[in-house]
C-alpha cells in the first residue's frame, strides 16, 4: 500500500536509454508525497504515474529495501545515497527533504561503473575484485566446529566491522578520484584479520589490488569522503591496513 501525503517536489533525474546513449536530465513535478515514504517509494509513486501516462518509468536498482543488499545506488543532491549519514537510499526517508525542494538525482559516476540505464550502473567490477582474492580456500567435507579456531575478540570485532561492507559503491561515487580503496580494503581486512584468511593473505591483497587497478578505479588521496558517505561506516583504518598488507606482500612476499 502506498501512503500519500502533501509534499510537492521537483525532481531532476538523469535519463539515459542505454550504456551508449547520451543521456540528459529530465524534470518531473511530483506531489502527494508523504514524509514517511522512503526515497525509493517516492520513485515508485512517480513511476506508477509515468506508466499510466504511457511513458518509460525511471530505471533504478533496488532489492532488499532494508539497507543490506547495497543495490539502491544513486547520487542525490550531490551526496551518495542522499543527505543522511550511514544510510542507503532505501533507508532514506522523505522527511530528509522539505516541501517544495528540488532534488537532483544522478547515477554513480566512475569509468569502472558504466551506466546501464537511467540510474542503474554496472558494478560487476566489484565482483571481479572479490573473485581475484576475496575468499578463503577450504577443503570440502564435514563442517569444522566453529570453536576449534580461537579468535581474539578485538580482531573478531574489527573483521566483523569490515565484513559489514555491502558493496554498494558509494565510496567510489563520493571519492573525488573515483577510487575503490575503501571497498577493496574492507574485503582485504575482513579476511586478513582472521586466522582462516592468513594462509592466502599475501596473494590475496596482491591479486585484489591488481584487479582494482585493472578495473580503472582511481588512486586514494585520503580525503575521507568515502568514509563519510559509506552506509556501513567502514573506517579509513582499513585502507591503511590494506596499504600495509600490500607493501609487505610486495617487499616481504
Amino acid at each position: 500500500m502506498i501512503m500519500s501525503g502533501d509534499m510537492k517536489l521537483t525532481l531532476k533525474v538523469w535519463r539515459q536509454k542505454n550504456s551508449s546513449a547520451k543521456g540528459a536530465f529530465e524534470t518531473y513535478q511530483v506531489d502527494g508525497i508523504s514524509k514517511d515514504m522512503s526515497f525509493l517509494e517516492m520513485f515508485d509513486v512517480l513511476n506508477e504515474r509515468l506508466i499510466s501516462e504511457g511513458k518509460e518509468p525511471i530505471a533504478f536498482d533496488h532489492d532488499c529495501r532494508e539497507g543490506i543488499c547495497g543495490m539502491c545506488s544513486m547520487y542525490i543532491n550531490g551526496r551518495a545515497h542522499g543527505p543522511w549519514k550511514g544510510t542507503t537510499t532505501c533507508q532514506l526517508h522523505m522527511r530528509a527533504f522539505n516541501d517544495g525542494d528540488t532534488i537532483v538525482v544522478e547515477p554513480w559516476r566512475s569509468v569502472a561503473f558504466p551506466v546501464v540505464k537511467d540510474l542503474v550502473v554496472n558494478r560487476s567490477a566489484f565482483d571481479r575484485i572479490i573473485q581475484a582474492g576475496g575468499y578463503i580456500s577450504v577443503n570440502t567435507g564435514n563442517a569444522v566446529d566453529a570453536n576449534s579456531i580461537l579468535i581474539d575478540k578485538p580482531d573478531a570485532d574489527k573483521a566483523f566491522a569490515a565484513a559489514a561492507c555491502i558493496g554498494c559503491g558509494a565510496c567510489v561515487a563520493a571519492c573525488p578520484n573515483a577510487s575503490a580503496m575503501l571497498f577493496t580494503s574492507a574485503k582485504v581486512s575482513h579476511l586478513a584479520l582472521l586466522p582462516q584468511g592468513d594462509p592466502e593473505r599475501k596473494t590475496r591483497v596482491n591479486n585484489m589490488v591488481r584487479q582494482m587497478d585493472i578495473e580503472g578505479f582511481g588512486m586514494c588521496s585520503n580525503t575521507g569522503a568515502c568514509e563519510a558517505e559509506c552506509p556501513k561506516e567502514i573506517s579509513l583504518e582499513n585502507i591503511a591496513r590494506m596499504n600495509r598488507e600490500y607493501v609487505s606482500s610486495v617487499f616481504a612476499g
Binding site: 563520493a174 588512486m219 588521496s221 591503511a240 591496513r241
Partner: protein, 228 residues
C-alpha cells in the same frame, strides 16, 4: 626488478612514493625553517650567514641537497600525474556535488596547492639558490673566514612589496597543502592506529600553522625593517 616496477606503477605504490617524498620534504622544511630562523637573532645576519655557510659547505649536506632535488622532482611529477589521473576516472562528472560536506576543500585541492607551491618555489630558487650557487653573491668576513652574505641578499629581495606578498601567499599554500598532506602521508604509508593517529593529526595541524607562520614572518619583518 619486475616486481619493483610493478609496485611503483600500482595505485598503492604510487601513493607510497607520494607519502615518502612528502615526509622527506617535511623533514627538509624543519631544517630549512630552523636555519632561516637564525635571522630572528637580529645580529645583522651573523648567526644566519654562518649557519647558511655550514649548510652550503658541509659535504653530507650537499649530498642531501641532491637527494632533496630528486625528492622534490619525484613528488612533483608523481603529484601532477595523480592529479591528471582524476579526470580519467570520472569522465562524466556530477551535475551537483556537495563535496564540502564530506571532505575539506584543501584535501580536494592538493594538485592546485602544489602547483602554487611550485610557482613560488621557482621564484624562490631564482632569488636565493641561483645567486648563491651559480651566479655569485657578495661576501662578508667573520673570524678570518669569508662567507656568502645571504642575509644582505635577503634584505634586498624583501625590500619589494610584491615579493613579500608572493612569499606570504606561497607559504599559505604550503600551510594548506600540509594541513591535509602531513597526516595523509602517514595514512598512505599504512601508519594508522587508534592510539597514534589522533596525535599525528594534532601534530600535523600545529606544524601546518606554525611553520608557515615562521616563514611568513621572515619577509614581513624584513620588509617592515623590524629585523635590520
Amino acid at each position: 626488478m619486475n616486481w619493483f616496477t610493478a609496485f611503483l606503477k600500482s595505485s598503492i605504490g604510487r601513493k607510497v612514493v607520494m607519502g615518502l617524498t612528502g615526509i622527506f620534504l617535511i623533514v627538509f622544511l624543519v631544517v630549512h625553517c630552523g636555519v632561516n630562523a637564525c635571522i630572528f637573532v637580529n645580529d645583522n645576519g651573523e648567526t644566519f650567514n654562518k649557519a647558511a655557510h655550514f649548510m652550503g659547505s658541509n659535504f653530507f649536506i650537499r649530498v642531501a641537497e641532491i637527494g632533496l632535488f630528486a625528492g622534490i622532482l619525484l613528488h612533483i611529477v608523481q603529484g601532477l600525474l595523480l592529479w591528471a589521473d582524476k579526470s580519467k576516472r570520472r569522465p562524466v562528472g556530477y551535475n551537483k556535488t556537495a563535496g564540502s560536506v564530506t571532505s575539506t576543500w584543501y584535501s580536494r585541492s592538493m594538485g592546485l596547492l602544489g602547483t602554487l607551491i611550485l610557482l613560488f618555489l621557482i621564484l624562490h630558487l631564482k632569488h636565493f639558490w641561483v645567486p648563491s650557487r651559480i651566479t655569485g653573491l657578495g661576501e662578508v668576513m667573520y673570524e678570518q673566514e669569508k662567507v656568502l652574505n645571504l642575509y644582505s641578499e635577503m634584505k634586498r629581495v624583501f625590500s619589494e612589496l610584491w615579493v613579500v606578498v608572493v612569499y606570504v601567499l606561497g607559504v599559505i599554500s604550503l600551510g594548506y597543502h600540509l594541513m591535509h598532506g602531513f597526516q595523509s602521508a602517514f595514512q598512505s604509508l599504512g601508519w594508522n592506529h587508534p592510539k597514534y593517529t589522533p596525535l599525528i593529526k594534532s601534530l600535523g595541524f600545529g606544524f601546518s600553522i606554525l611553520v608557515p607562520l615562521i616563514f611568513a614572518a621572515m619577509p614581513l619583518l624584513m620588509y617592515l625593517e623590524i629585523i635590520n
